[in-house]
């Protein structure tokens, strides 16, 4: 109850501050239209924002440990988060500066109009791509190499139970977490990418075919997709994985999962490709090409596809995120990517118990969050880029 009371008092203070802010603004500027016509909600928003900012700074400046030397985990985590945000912003800013300075005229122009979030997204995607391709060279150990030192605490500080050989510690059976994280990029991202690609080839080609041919082909495909889409995708993939698991196991099951998710996801791609295709097919230039006597191949590849690349590329990003999250969820449930492949979803599941140590040893709790964060970071990055692409291609000022 006490907490609730505090929240109410704090909100009341902020509400009063908002009113005072607008009043002061009106006084100081001599009733300029900006302050005169400002709705109360806006001034309240300003006050709330300011209060949150001050609170954040205050928390950041608190000592990270109390007098007895016990770490104050909230402060520690808050500092990590702030440091991460600052580093990310600086990195994205430098990356954008770099993009504006080097490269062709066209690429420079793109970077000039790019918001910081999109620059950050591209930078993250590049780093992940690099880690995925060169995982074998970067990772200090193999992904399934087992060491005798199990449960080594992250941080590399021997006084706290760490080991400089394993900067992020080891898991319950003694595998190096850093190496598994890096290999996770190769496995999780690689598999998600391959799945998305498969879904696009399948769904995209059928979608365009349906849009161009219309008639019974379109009817048949669309109704089939309607039925498949009536089953929630995660549920459907779990059902099919159950069936598949009766036939295959281990790596075979991983491959089965790729196919299953690709087929289920292809239904979503089909819908989009068909809709995009339909919008293009009604254009007069398609009618002109048809009346000229052009064949189906020319229509799809020369007339429709070049005009569909922008929406399809954006959709690829979104679909990738979705597939990536689905695979991670399946792995987390123990039904996705199978051992011995290292994978982030499985790692979160395996390391999740460490979170309960957060109160007295924040760095222990960090390891499961790092794996989960690695998933989130990539999807956030892709979403930032896609968001920007959609914004650009729509040409709207919204």
């Amino acid at each position: 109850m006490n907490t609730l009371l505090w929240i109410i008092v704090a909100l009341a203070v902020v509400a009063a501050l908002g009113w005072a802010f607008r009043f002061a603004g009106q006084m100081v500027t001599g009733n300029k239209p900006y302050f005169r016509d400002m709705p109360y909600a806006v001034s309240f928003g300003f006050a709330l924002g300011a209060a949150l900012f001050v609170g954040g700074v205050w928390l950041y400046l608190q000592p990270p440990a109390n007098e007895a030397g016990v770490p104050r985990a909230s402060v520690v985590f808050w500092r990590w988060a702030v440091h991460f945000l600052i580093v990310a912003a600086i990195a994205a800013f430098i990356f954008r500066l770099l993009g504006r300075a080097v490269g062709t005229q066209a690429s420079r122009k793109i970077f000039r109009q790019m918001p910081l979030t999109a620059a950050f997204g591209i930078l993250v995607i590049l780093i992940y791509g690099f880690a995925a391709v060169f995982a074998g060279l970067i990772a200090p150990y193999g992904q399934d190499q087992v060491f005798s030192a199990a449960n080594v605490v992250p941080g590399g500080d021997p006084a706290l139970g760490g080991n400089p050989d394993f900067p992020l510690g080891t898991d319950q059976i003694g595998r190096d977490i850093l190496s598994r994280l890096i290999y996770g990029a190769q496995n999780t991202v690689g598999i998600a990418f391959a799945t998305t690609l498969l879904a696009f080839v399948l769904g995209g080609s059928l979608g365009f075919l349906a849009a161009t041919l219309r008639g019974w082909v379109d009817q048949l495909l669309s109704r089939a997709v309607d039925v498949l889409m009536a089953i929630p995708s995660l549920i459907f993939s779990l059902l099919l994985i159950t069936v598949a698991s009766a036939w295959v196991s281990g790596t075979g099951l991983t491959i089965a999962m790729i196919v299953i998710i690709a087929v289920i996801d292809a239904t979503r791609v089909f819908r989009l490709a068909r809709a995009v295709g339909m919008n293009i097919v009604v254009m007069d230039y398609i009618e002109a090409a048809k009346l000229r006597g052009e064949g189906l191949g020319y229509l799809i590849f020369k007339e429709i596809l070049p005009n569909a690349t922008a929406p399809l590329l954006a959709e690829f990003g979104l679909r990738f995120c979705f597939v990536f999250l689905t695979i991670s969820a399946l792995s987390f449930l123990g039904l996705g990517i199978q051992p011995p492949l290292a994978d982030w979803g499985t790692m979160v599941k395996d390391l999740s118990a460490f979170i309960n140590y957060a109160a007295f040893a924040p760095q222990i709790a960090a390891s499961p969050l790092l794996a989960a964060g690695a998933i989130a970071l990539l999807t956030v990055a892709v979403n930032f880029v896609v968001d920007w692409m959609l914004h650009r291609s729509s040409g709207l000022k919204e």
């Binding site: 907490t3 909600a41 806006v42 928003g45 924002g49 985990a73 909230s74 985590f77 979030t117 309607d226 039925v227 498949l228 009536a230 089953i231 929630p232 995708s233 995660l234 549920i235 459907f236 779990l238 059902l239 099919l240 994985i241 159950t242 069936v243 698991s245 009766a246 036939w247 995120c321 999250l325 991670s328 969820a329 987390f332 449930l333 123990g334 039904l335 979803g345 979160v348 599941k349 999740s352 979170i355 309960n356 957060a358 109160a359 709790a365 499961p368 969050l369 989960a372 964060g373 998933i375 989130a376 999807t379 956030v380 892709v382 979403n383 930032f384 968001d387 000022k397 919204e398």
Partner: protein
Amino acid sequence: MNPVLTIILQRLALGLLTLLIVSFVIFTAVNMLPGDFAEALLGQSATPEAVAAIRKDLNLDQPFFVRYFSWLGAMLTGDLGVSYAQLNFQSNMGASTLKTVADQIAPRFANTMFLAGVTACIAVPFAVTLGVLAALYRNSVFDKGVNIATLTSISSPEFFLAYILVLFLAVLNPLLPSIANIYQGISFQDRLVATLLPALTLTLVVTAHMMRMTRAAIISLLASPYIEMARLKGISPLRVIVKHALPNAWAPIINVIALNLAYLITGVVVVEVVFNYPGIGQLFVDAVKNRDIPVVQACCLIFAGAYILLNLAADILSIMTNPRLRHPK
């Protein structure tokens, strides 16, 4: 007949048909399993009685369509069969009472509905308010901040959000339990406290989607010429929203809500596992791991049914709020 009624009846029929086809798809998928599957599944611990019971249950000597319709008939009368795990347990232990799948699912179904209900109660008002605010103050700092926050939330896997909440609300500040302990005869208040953390996780996921969709719907609505016309008539901003925007906003907003409640169904699976919440999602995952076919089939059908129902509801509600259809020429 009233054209709205005709359309609604058509949609209802279409929904039922879809459900029928979906049940067929689920049945077919399961029947792709190898014939001696039951035996292999139970392994060495299988007693001949259990194997025989499964054989009988699957009706393997009957033709495919006969099996399908008898299964469908059983489903419709609430007879969801007997779980393999239960069968095995019974034949090994000699237990006299046999828990049917329906017995297993019923309490868990109620738990899941409670979780979804609590989530919806928090998420829907929160998301719609945020979405409308972001649309009204679009391109402001507030809008951009909300955009980044929701994008981040959408991009995060459910278990990441769940563990972050556990970290802050259960471990660092012990306000809520990190394991949802729900037992028989639990009081409403205890149940609410136990459900709050999973519900908050789902709220984070669903709110982001719902808020973004609401924002998009409201922005396109506010751009319509009749809203500009209302402003040019000197109508107060509040009245423009209440009298001119809202009657036309119901359809898109209801659609957004129903779609996201349907989305909740998938989200429930992972979240229930994280918090060990005794709902249907967790049962489903366990059944998948144990390849307990009757339970998998039944859960699948329930999830798909709820999903279809919600989409159907969205469809029908948006038809009913469309003035063009309500007042035909």
